[in-house]
């Protein structure tokens, strides 16, 4: 009994070690969206390419699509851009949400890297519209919206080729076949 008690600190230490080691591998900025399985918020926002034209929630609904939050200031957006292009090529509609950016810089980004977006919404610094209501706090972030306008999947951070093949495309197909 006494002997076993001697090992108690070691056991506690090892438990703590495992716990902390697990914490090391976790990404503290990756967390589930509060909007998951909730309806996409209402909005009416100007298009990036035309201040005069407004896009509303109802304009987008009816098919499964992605909302990709991006900005020319965001390094990871450049990294994932090829994957967004590939998704568009696969026939997945991607709505761009240009976030805390400036129009000239955003135009340059799209003309240099290619434009995969069916339409781009514009939410510059100082405006709190759809991105704020979606709980966006950085870029890139990507949301999957189903036919009924419900948020079904969310990625905060860069999308990789592997994520596209293993999660995003299967999720898109799944919700396209639902209802």
């Amino acid at each position: 009994m006494k002997r076993a008690l001697l090992f108690l600190p070691l056991i506690i230490f090892m438990g703590l070690g495992v716990f902390l080691y697990k914490g090391l591998g976790m990404d503290p900025s990756a967390r589930e969206s509060a909007l998951l399985n909730k309806p996409l918020p209402e909005f009416s926002m100007p298009r990036l390419d035309n201040e005069e034209l407004k896009v509303t929630r109802d304009d987008l609904l009816g098919e499964v699509f992605l909302i990709n939050v991006w900005g020319s200031w965001c390094p990871a957006c450049y990294e994932e851009h090829d994957e967004i292009l590939r998704l568009a090529k696969e026939g997945v509609p991607v709505v761009g949400l240009n976030y805390k950016d400036e129009r000239p810089k955003a135009f340059r980004y799209l003309s240099q890297l290619g434009n995969p977006y069916t339409v781009n919404l514009y939410e510059p610094d100082g405006v709190r519209a759809l991105a704020f209501d979606l709980g966006v706090y950085g870029a890139p972030e990507t949301f999957l919206i189903d036919k009924e306008g419900i948020v079904r999947y969310h990625v905060s951070g860069e999308i990789t080729a592997r994520m596209v093949d293993e999660v995003i495309l299967p999720e898109v197909r799944k919700w396209q076949n639902a209802y």
């Binding site: 503290p28 900025s29 967390r31 589930e32 969206s33 509060a34 909007l35 805390k100 610094d125 100082g126 709190r128 704020f132 209501d133 979606l134 709980g135 706090y137 950085g138």
Partner: protein
């Protein structure tokens, strides 16, 4: 002179520290200003894990302050403010997590550990005093006699082992 220069230098060092969240808000009442600072201190900046929206200079904390100001001016209660922000940014936004089944460990483990540690201390102190009671009823002379016997026994043994070794 040198002292003055030093003080001036030290003040320069303080200046950037007091720079956080410097934008101006025109509150309609002092009560709202007080609540802005109160709530701003317990709302966590969504981008930076360990700063409140008052402390952080990140753009998303700025957005949060703007929104908090708007909500307070529109007459939202504290609970309504938390609900509004939680529905967008999740539980993460509030520094005080809710007491739920999956947060029990977070809330109750520290007090359990403290109480357990104290109990362990008491238990150890008691068992030690049982092993070695300070007063067993023997008088000082009795103890000294015992001690003497032990020492004699010891010296006898060493001398016998010594004689064995020499023979």
């Amino acid at each position: 002179m040198a002292k003055r220069l030093l003080i001036a230098l030290m003040l320069l060092w303080i200046a950037p520290l007091s720079h956080a969240a410097i934008e101006l808000y025109d509150f309609s009442s002092e009560e709202k200003r007080a609540r802005f600072h109160e709530l701003g201190a317990v709302l966590r900046c969504p981008m930076c894990e360990n700063q409140s929206i008052i402390d952080s200079e990140s753009p998303s904390a700025f957005d949060m302050r703007q929104e908090l100001y708007r909500l307070l001016e529109e007459g939202y209660t504290d609970d309504e403010v938390f609900e509004y922000l939680k529905s967008r940014f999740g539980e993460f936004i509030h520094y005080r997590p809710p007491v739920r089944q999956d947060t029990w460990l977070l809330w109750f483990l520290p007090p359990v550990l403290i109480v357990g540690g104290l109990l362990l201390l008491v238990f150890l102190a008691r068992s030690r005093s049982k092993e070695d009671p300070p007063g067993t009823g023997e008088s000082l002379s009795e103890r000294q006699l015992k001690l003497k016997k032990i020492l004699e026994l010891d010296s006898e043994q060493t001398s016998t082992s010594n004689s064995k070794g020499s023979s």
